[in-house]
């Protein structure tokens, strides 16, 4: 199962954000979108989620154009963890996770399927312990897990996450990454916009490197994260190496002298 992007171009008025993007996303893989600020990462993710309609080309799932899918159908197949971890009211964690069932709800009350999906999502993210606590009283790490549980509760085939690690401490960042990785291993397509190159190197199965609205490179970690690519796109002097345990590590030495 693949999510295919063909010749995708997006602009706000005259300002071109994305240009001629061609890429294929595989189910069962953790794909990471990288690129400096303003490269168009979030815009690409919003196009994949069907929130933005590209002017040229497009993204498709099972031969259906995502931007033209019926919103509820799309919501059942593609789950989005938006940027910013917004929660506007002090509702309980469980009520927040239950929002993920909205695309599946018929009638008024939750069905047995709904309740099962909510329980599964909360146990996968280890959030049952604070099911009755208002989300506004949770720590940043707990809230991030509850928000991810909300996405899982929709039981989508695809999970898109826009900067899911922002404002989290390293331990919590690793929790979220491990959860996303587990979803990919379970067969879901996982696509995340990340800022942290170290995590991308550690967790990604596939990387898209964006630069000024264009797809600069894509492929495996070794193919994309090269000293030349990082110098060109980020302006940093860095290299990959394998540590004693055979794990790929990234060492950032400094800025490339200009």
């Amino acid at each position: 199962m693949t999510l295919i992007v063909r010749n995708l171009g997006f602009s706000y008025g005259e300002r071109r954000i994305l240009d001629a993007i061609n890429a294929t996303f595989e189910a069962g893989k953790f794909t990471v979108i990288l690129g400096p600020n303003g490269a168009g990462k979030s815009t690409l993710l919003a196009c994949l989620a069907g929130l933005l309609g590209p002017q040229t080309g497009g993204a498709s799932l099972h031969d259906a154009d995502i931007a033209r899918m019926a919103p509820t159908d799309r919501a059942r197949q593609i789950g989005l963890l938006p940027q910013g971890a917004e929660t506007h009211w002090a509702i309980t964690s469980e009520a927040l996770v239950a929002l993920g069932r909205i695309p599946h709800m018929r009638g008024t009350g939750p069905s047995a399927d709904d309740r099962r999906a909510i329980t599964t999502a909360m146990s996968a993210t280890a959030t049952e312990g604070f099911a009755d606590r208002p989300v506004t009283q949770l720590s940043g790490g707990e809230r991030a897990r509850v928000l991810l549980a909300r996405v899982l509760a929709s039981e989508p085939d695809w999970i898109l996450a826009d900067e899911p690690l922002a404002n989290l401490d390293p331990g919590f960042q690793l929790d979220i990454l491990a959860l996303l990785q587990r979803q990919a291993e379970a067969g879901k397509g996982v696509v995340a916009v990340l800022h942290d190159l170290q995590y991308a190197v550690r967790f990604a199965d596939h990387i898209l490197l964006l630069h000024e609205g264009r797809l600069f490179a894509q492929g495996s970690v070794e193919d994309v994260i090269t000293a030349a690519n990082l110098a060109h796109v980020y302006g940093i002097d860095a290299n990959l190496f394998k540590d004693e345990e055979g794990t790929i590590q990234l060492c950032i030495k400094g800025k490339v002298p200009s």
Binding site: R76, G79, H88
Partner: protein, 321 residues
């Protein structure tokens, strides 16, 4: 107490407030003389019944509109009065009176509803992305502008009688309304209430922000128009029939949230009931205050509501600091 128990209690209180409104006043009218062929029976049928029905309806409409607007804008300070929706409806109504459109069937209603609906569209246009305070500032601008234009129309009114007629209506009261006024307003309010009650699930989804809601399949464009139409019909009709009765929509959802929790869909119906209870009780109390003439309901609600708004604003600022 669970939510079902709370709602039953609110229903009972609504009934009690309705009965109080039927009985209370300079003359108390007990149920025994409601059907009597006497002065009391006449007061009941011609004065008390339409007044109590109106109190019930506009209270419910204003409480519900406040709850929906707060959920939609994700802003606990939103309310038809604060956002200038009521003032714009009043401007529509005054414009209708000035142009003589109120003589046409539904002329006053149509203009008030148009004023209310278009004010929300204007507000969204000027305050989108302005954050919670942006909407309040936008509402202030709208409210001031609508108030100034209303005053302008009054000042150029053709004769003093027309001017005093307009001012009397504007101040907001449930007095001297006929059953025919109630019957005219009711269908619009009912349609508005039905539209607003249908927004629960979308408002819940907006807890996650606009992108979160859209990713769950919520059509925000459609939601916006349901709210513009629903609030336009409901608040427009309530202003057309009783002038500006403010702050019900601000006060009630806050009290309801303390009982039901903050999930937007859970407070819609209870806010309608709470609005009815507050309005009916306040309207009964203004009748019971001693003095030669009664305090108008709109004035009483403003005296109650303005300090409440200030209190919320202070608490809100502390929470953000």
């Amino acid at each position: 107490m669970n939510n079902r128990g709370l709602t039953s209690l609110l229903l009972l209180l609504t009934l009690a407030a309705f009965l109080l409104s039927l009985m209370a006043g300079k003359v108390w009218i007990w149920p025994s003389s409601w059907a009597a062929d006497s002065a009391d029976g006449w007061i009941f049928l011609e004065l008390r019944l339409p007044r109590a029905l109106l109190g019930l309806c506009i209270g419910a409409v204003l409480g519900l509109s406040g709850a929906v607007l707060q959920g939609y804008l994700r802003n606990p300070l939103a309310d038809p009065t604060v956002l200038g929706v009521s003032a714009s409806a009043a401007l529509g109504g005054v414009g209708a009176i000035y142009l003589g459109l109120n003589l046409l069937p539904f002329g006053l209603f149509a203009c008030a509803m148009l004023g209310a609906g278009s004010s929300i569209l204007l507000l969204l246009a000027i305050s989108r992305n302005g954050g919670p305070i942006g909407f309040i500032l936008g509402g202030m601008v709208l409210s001031t502008l609508a108030g100034a234009l209303t005053a302008f129309i009054i000042s150029i009114a053709p004769n003093p009688f027309a001017a005093s007629e307009i001012i009397n209506w504007l101040m907001g009261a449930l007095t001297d309304r006929l059953m025919v006024d109630v019957a005219t307003a009711l269908p619009f309010m009912a349609l508005g209430v039905a539209l607003l009650l249908s927004t629960g699930r979308a408002l819940d989804a907006l807890t996650l922000g606009e992108n979160g809601a859209r990713s769950l399949g919520i059509n925000l464009f459609r939601l916006q128009w349901i709210i513009v139409l629903g609030v336009g019909l409901a608040v427009g009709a309530s202003v057309a029939v009783s002038g500006v009765v403010g702050f019900v929509g601000l006060i009630v959802p806050h009290l309801i949230r303390a009982l039901y929790g903050e999930q937007p869909s859970k407070i819609l119906l209870p806010s309608a009931l709470g609005g009815a209870i507050l309005t009916l009780t306040a309207d009964s109390l203004v009748r019971l205050l001693p003095g030669p003439s009664e305090v108008r309901l709109g004035i009483a609600m403003a005296v109650l509501g303005a300090p409440f708004f200030l209190l919320l604003l202070l608490r809100y600022r502390r929470g953000n600091a």
